[in-house]
Amino acid sequence: MKSVYLHNRISKLLLKSVTFVLLFLMSFSVYSQDVDEAKQGEGKKLFKSLCASCHKLDKKLVGPALAGVEERRENDWLKKWIRNNAELRASGDRDAVAIYDEYNGANMNAFPQLTDQDIDNILYYTTVGDPRSKASESTEVVATTQKEAPGWLIYILAAIIVTAFLIIASLLKTISELKGAPKTPGLLGNLHELWIGVKQNTFLHVVGTIFFLLVAAYIGFGSLFSVGVDQGYQPIQPIAFSHKIHAGDNQIDCQYCHSSAKHSKHSGIPSVNVCMNCHKNISEVAENTVLVTEEKTYRKADLDKEIQKIYKAAGWNSETLEYTGETEPIKWIRIHNLPDFAYFNHSQHVTVAGVACQKCHGPVETMEELYQFSPLTMGWCIDCHRETKVDLKGNEYYQKIHEQLAKKYGVEQVTAAQLGGLECGKCHY
């Protein structure tokens, strides 16, 4: 008995280790070599569209985590359950009732439209998981923003070097004079004489003054004009929100979040419930996500904390998966500030003119941290109005007026300016 016992133990251990190695090999092979990518891709697509609102692979959400579900349940049982779980429960299937009770009677949707192939694909995906991204294999590319030294620093450095050189030269000369060398006018002496000459020349005085005044006026005028122009303004937002991840990587349409842009003068900052449409299910970012801002590099742990900020604002308890009712609005910092006396309407540009958001807001889908792309000056506005030909196709409103204006200006397509887009009162009231 003992030996048997021992044998048993050893064999168990052996068995275990073999299984482990096998599994390890299998998983290795699964992850590295033998993945049927087509099947996996198909499965992932279906999973994302049908299952992801309630299930995750590695985490309990509304329903259980689904990684390795194939090992826990029979394939046939799973198919029945997925197609119509209510029917399965009604038939008195014990497992089905048990899992229903475990999740407090949360009803899972029925998916009778799925074929066996579809379900197999989904199950395959739950087993093999996400395709390994290429980015994670390669070494991380972190954009290091090298701060270029501003131009004037170079000039100051040069001036210092020249001055130092002159001082050294004059010191050397003094030393040699002290040693008894004959006094020569030297370079400095010549310069001194030249300076005296300049000082006595009235013409040069006048020219110099005029030159100085012109330069001062030019610089002064330019700097005054830049007062209040905040191009490049990039404040630190209360949440490290990356437009790149949302609009770029995940291809979310601008107007999904900024939904009033097509109806209203305001593009609208999305309310927290819009964030929760997706983030109710996305509580963490993908493993290798990196967000680089000027101040800080955010990695997964940091970014997950940022998502928690949304939950706090929305009053969402990510443990119990319930709204607590304790909400607080997110106080974003406004980047695009038009003065009150300038009226701007997003819907005119987005809906009527069909201007792409990027035209004014720049490549937002590449911005990890949003900044003001355009100067938002009046000159910038009217330059565009002057150049932009109005797209009138299919808009009955424009028909008559365009016909008349095109005739008046002798053009085929009138610009916004010719339509009256330069009149002061169109934007200032």
Binding site: R334, A342, Y343, N345, V352, N395, E396, Y397, Q404, G425
Partner: protein
């Protein structure tokens, strides 16, 4: 016949001929007080700040300010946590609701932005009209100073639960002791609320409901009840009228809630079917100002004149007395008989006997105008019951009093007695929106929701229901009367459910609640029948003769256009609204005839800056004395009579600026607006009026107004060179008389591409009510400047309603024969000033196609748009004011100060609540810039954008401005003249159309319609 009328703006202008010149010279003078500052050498030397110090400070502050300006402030964008589904940020939502505050009743549409109501407009589908007060009511919602915020007991804040508990206990006790409790409310006109009150009385049988109107129409109600069995007011379909005879009834003002819409419909001269309107009155009222014939009649004579009219029509001889206006009465009788069923007689008297006679005349005429079958329910007050309540309270016969939205401590003649009697009660509860004098005097004060925060219903006319729905969440910890009463009755239903059930059972009967809520009204078309009882008129007339015993001055108390019964006295828009007749704002005053003023030594001297002053009178009526009432000399006031507006002189919790005028309710004895035996003494002193009556002179250009008679309108060619009543202006050019419009300083532009906006103003149907002025305030963020600034002519109204008095010298020949010219002519006119004709002319930027203001602006801040609007670019304006000087219409307004966020101008733009009413689409202007009417460019642009987004053409009638939307009579019509289907196209070409000062060649985009008076008499 060309009109030879002379127009003048004030009595002073007639007597002091040099005034016009002085004022026109001084119109924009604002001397810098250098002498005051530099003249005092001693003070300068003693100053501790040396010139060097001054320069240092200045240098430092300039540098600091410059540095500070480099860094922009950080602005936050705070989105909703959960955005309401049907709300798009930046897009306005409109809700249909109704106002019923006990004095003003109207079906309205409310514009909200991000959940804040910002504008009230008439619900035209429901036949709603708005006056100035209804327009301004949205600002009273945000009145954080006057509104009650928490329930209170004896001045301490308590919780609602605690209040309910304590009041409930006390009510039970009073019920068990069988002590009477009175529920004192204003007119509710709310069927569901009346049912709730009935159920409350069922639970507490010791409760009695008494209705109290601050300004009573008890006489008309009692008379109607006696004749037709219902306690209501008859309705008048003035649109059907051919002859209207009114004895003091200001039916374009507040009498029976106003009838301006129907009246205006009968005043269209096209086709010659214009009504003929005779007004017998003492005060110059809005209605009298619009009348074809205004007969100056003292109040005591008015009642006898009415009986005489009855006698003249019927041939009866009811007891009466002869009056000085009897020949006019006979003429009126003849006109009425001629018009038959299209004639109507109305009177303002609060004596039921007088009303009975007026009703009897209408019955004899079988008047179609007079509608007893579908009466109005907007007044319910019973003076006898109110008087009995006060007497009972004083005698200790009342156990408890619950008031709702009434302020008897302020508005009863014996308000202080009432306040004292409140102390004798074991329970006194004030349910009120405002923290008024009554709320301050009761034990419990329960804050009520504003109508814009409430659910409710109204029935203004028989079977004409309106729904009230909230347009904003409650701003403060308030509740509704209905909720409170339901709770006290032990009913746990919410008022919303109650209302819905009531409506589905009693009103909708199967029709859609959602539709009714969307429309804001519901009408049930049922022919009503009316049973009439006979009244002995001889007894009534005898009673009138017995009670009318005039002596001394006769005082008529009236409700002013701006403040009405005084509920909204803390509303700066209304305080700043100039009275249509006197053009004074921020005041009430004793109006007095020119003759009486001369006798008693009152005058209104005009100062150099255009402001007018006055003296104070001490008025004693039956033992009650009111002191320091300023006197305004009023052309057209009946000699021997004076007038005084109610609604002023409120103090409790009003802003200091608004605690203005005298409380005339003190003289409102027995709720009778006419008081005899009035003694007036001149107390001297100097009162400063904020009257914009003469500031803006017309500098001798007396053809701003054009008017004609109905006969001329129908028979004479308007363009006739000699006799035309709307002939074009001629000027001398190259020694030849040529039509003014052929000569121009400017180049002609093509105006046919795109939209081209025009506004037409019909001088015939404009009654001068001022609703448009307040609507303009609300829509365009026009600041309130306060009394001091108004006084010196710095009013900011983009739209003003000029009032011109006129008097006619019979013919041109006659004038020549009299050898009159210039000043002498004015002196003759003075006698006519005893009863002048009145014309109202709304005046705003004329949006000249050839604008003189644009030519002179050195920075091109005012330019012309292709759509016809003269655009004012505030951010470009540097404030030279050249444009204002060069504007022939005097419509440009200069921002002398920052009116927002400035404690010197502590009105709605200086607090967080008041700012919620601002229109986010229009900028708030800052100091040093010129502003003016923009023809609501934000509204036209919004209409265009809507069409563009929907990819369609703009339909006729889509364009509007705030003033044209607010106009109840349709006098203001706005539209695109390049769209041939628009009404404005016809109006622009109408034979009545003219441009003000057209000979200057400004080619305005605002077109006026010549006023036509119906002088056809029998």
């Amino acid at each position: 016949m060309a009109s030879n009328k002379k127009y003048w703006k004030s009595v002073e202008e007639l007597t002091n001929n040099s005034l016009v010149e002085t004022i026109s010279k001084n119109e924009f003078v604002e001397e810098i007080p250098t002498d005051e500052f530099l003249g005092n050498k001693e003070a300068l030397e003693n100053s501790s700040t040396s010139r060097r110090d001054f320069l240092k400070y200045m240098g430092f502050t300039t540098a600091a300010a410059t540095l500070a300006a480099c860094e922009g402030p950080v602005k936050k964008s705070i989105p909703y946590v959960v955005k309401p589904n049907d709300l798009i940020v930046g897009v306005a939502d409109w809700y249909a609701t109704a106002i019923a505050d006990g004095y003003d009743f109207a079906n309205v549409l409310v514009k909200t932005r991000e959940g804040r109501p910002i504008l009230v407009m008439p619900n035209k589908e429901a036949g709603g009209t708005t006056n100035a007060r209804v327009q301004a009511s949205v600002l009273s919602l945000y009145d954080e100073k006057l509104r009650l915020k928490e329930p209170r007991k004896g001045g301490d804040v308590i919780s609602w639960n605690e209040a309910h508990k304590q009041i409930g206990t006390e009510l039970e006790r009073l019920k068990n002791e069988e002590k009477p409790v009175v529920l004192l409310t204003g007119t509710l006109a709310s069927p569901s609320t009346e049912k709730i009150i009935a159920e409350f009385i069922e639970k507490y049988p010791n409760v009695k409901h008494v209705t109290y109107d601050a300004i009573s129409e008890d006489g008309a109600l009692t008379a109607f009840e006696a004749m037709y069995g219902k306690r209501a007011l008859p309705n008048y379909h003035l649109d059907k009228a051919k002859t209207i005879v009114s004895f003091g009834a200001d039916f374009l003002g507040d009498w029976h809630g106003g009838f301006e819409k129907g009246y205006a419909a009968s005043r269209k001269p096209e086709g010659g079917k214009m009504s003929y309107h005779v007004q017998f009155e003492a005060n110059m009222s809005l209605t009298g100002a619009n009348a074809d014939k205004r007969v100056v009649t003292k109040p005591s004579d008015q009642v006898f004149a009415l009986i005489n009219l009855y006698n003249a029509i019927t041939g009866d001889s009811l007891p009466s007395k002869s009056t000085p206006v009897d020949d006019q009465v006979k003429k009126a009788a003849k006109e009425l008989l001629k018009s038959g069923s299209k004639g109507v007689v109305v009177t303002s008297s609060n004596d039921e006997n007088v009303q009975v006679i007026a009703y009897a005349i209408n019955e004899i005429l079988q008047s179609e105008v007079f509608d007893a079958a579908n009466p109005l329910y907007i007044r319910k007050g019973k003076d006898v019951e109110v008087a009995k309540l006060v007497a009972d309270m004083k005698a200790g016969r009342v156990g408890g009093l619950i008031t709702y939205n009434v302020n008897p401590v302020y508005s009863l003649a014996l308000g202080s007695d009432f306040a004292e009697a409140l102390n004798k009660l074991s329970l006194s509860v004030a349910m009120s929106v405002q923290d008024d004098a009554t709320a301050a005097a009761t034990q419990f004060t329960l804050p009520m929701s504003h109508f814009l925060e409430s659910w409710g219903d109204v029935m203004v006319r028989e079977r004409n229901y309106g729904l009230v729905q909230p347009t904003i969440n409650k701003l403060f910890n308030t509740a509704q009367l209905q909720e409170v009463l339901l709770k006290w009755s032990g009913n746990t239903t919410s008022y919303y459910d109650y209302l819905k059930t009531y409506w589905s059972d009693e009103v909708l009967k199967g029709q859609s609640w959602n539709q009714a809520l969307h429309d804001g009204f519901h009408k049930i078309e049922v022919e009503s029948e009316v049973s009439k009882s006979e009244i002995d008129l001889t007894t009534a007339a005898a009673a009138i003769v017995a009670t009318t015993k005039p002596s001394g001055f006769e005082l008529t108390l009236y409700s002013s256009t701006a403040l009405g019964d005084g509920k909204q006295a803390n509303n700066p828009w209304l305080q700043e609204l100039p009275d249509p007749i006197t053009r004074a704002s921020w005041d009430n005053y004793l109006t007095m005839s020119i003759a009486d003023a001369k006798e008693l030594g009152f005058s209104n001297p005009v100062k150099d800056n255009g402001a007018i002053n006055g003296q104070y009178a001490t008025v004693t009526v039956n033992g009650v004395t009111l002191e320091k009432i300023p006197v305004m000399v009023q052309p057209g006031q009946a000699k021997g009579s004076v007038g005084l507006a109610l609604g002023y002189g409120r103090a409790t919790n009003l802003k200091e600026e608004m605690q203005i005028g005298v409380n005339a309710y003190a003289l409102y004895k027995n709720a009778n607006p006419v008081q005899y035996n009035v003694k007036i003494e001149n107390a001297g002193g100097k009162h400063e009026f904020a009257c914009i009556q003469v500031q803006k002179t017309i500098a001798g250009r007396h053809d701003i107004l054009k008017e004609t008679t109905l006969k001329e309108y129908l028979t004479v060619d308007p363009k006739d060179h000699h006799h035309g009543w709307n002939k074009p202006a001629y000027v001398s050019y190259d020694h030849k008389e040529v039509e003014a419009k052929t000569i121009d300083l400017w180049d002609e532009h093509n105006r046919e591409i795109g939209h081209h906006f025009n506004l037409s103003i019909d001088l015939n149907t404009c009654t001068g009510c001022g609703a448009c002025v307040v609507a303009c305030h609300a829509e365009n963020n026009v600041p309130v400047v306060g009394k001091r600034e108004m006084r010196v002519g710095r009013d900011m109204h983009w739209l003003r309603i000029d009032r011109y008095y006129s008097s006619e010298v019979e013919t041109r020949e006659e004038a020549k024969e009299m050898g009159l010219s210039g000043g002498d002519l004015f002196k003759v006119l003075e006698t006519e000033a005893e009863n002048p004709e009145v014309t109202f002319q709304p005046m705003m930027c004329q949006h000249c196609n050839h604008a003189p203001c644009e030519t002179v602006c050195p920075v091109a801040a005012t330019t012309h748009g292709r759509q016809g609007q003269n655009q004012m670019t505030y951010n470009r304006c540097v404030g030279t004011r050249y444009c204002a000087n060069n504007c022939p219409y005097r419509v440009r307004r200069f921002n002398w100060f920052n009116y927002a966020d400035n404690n010197e101008f502590d009105f709605n733009m200086n607090n967080e609540y008041g700012k919620m009413v601002l229109n986010p689409d229009v900028v708030v202007r800052s100091r040093g810039v010129m502003e003016k009417c923009s023809m609501c460019i934000q509204m036209t642009q919004a209409t265009i954008l809507k069409a563009k987004k929907e990819g369609r053409k703009i339909e006729a009638g889509e364009f509007s401005t705030a003033c044209s939307d607010a106009c109840a009579t349709g006098a203001l019509v706005f539209g695109d003249v390049n769209n041939k289907e628009e009404e404005i196209v016809k109006l622009k070409e109408d034979k009545r159309a003219y441009h003000v000062l057209d000979y200057i060649g400004t080619k305005p985009n605002v077109v006026y319609q010549v006023k036509v008076r119906n002088t056809n008499e029998a």
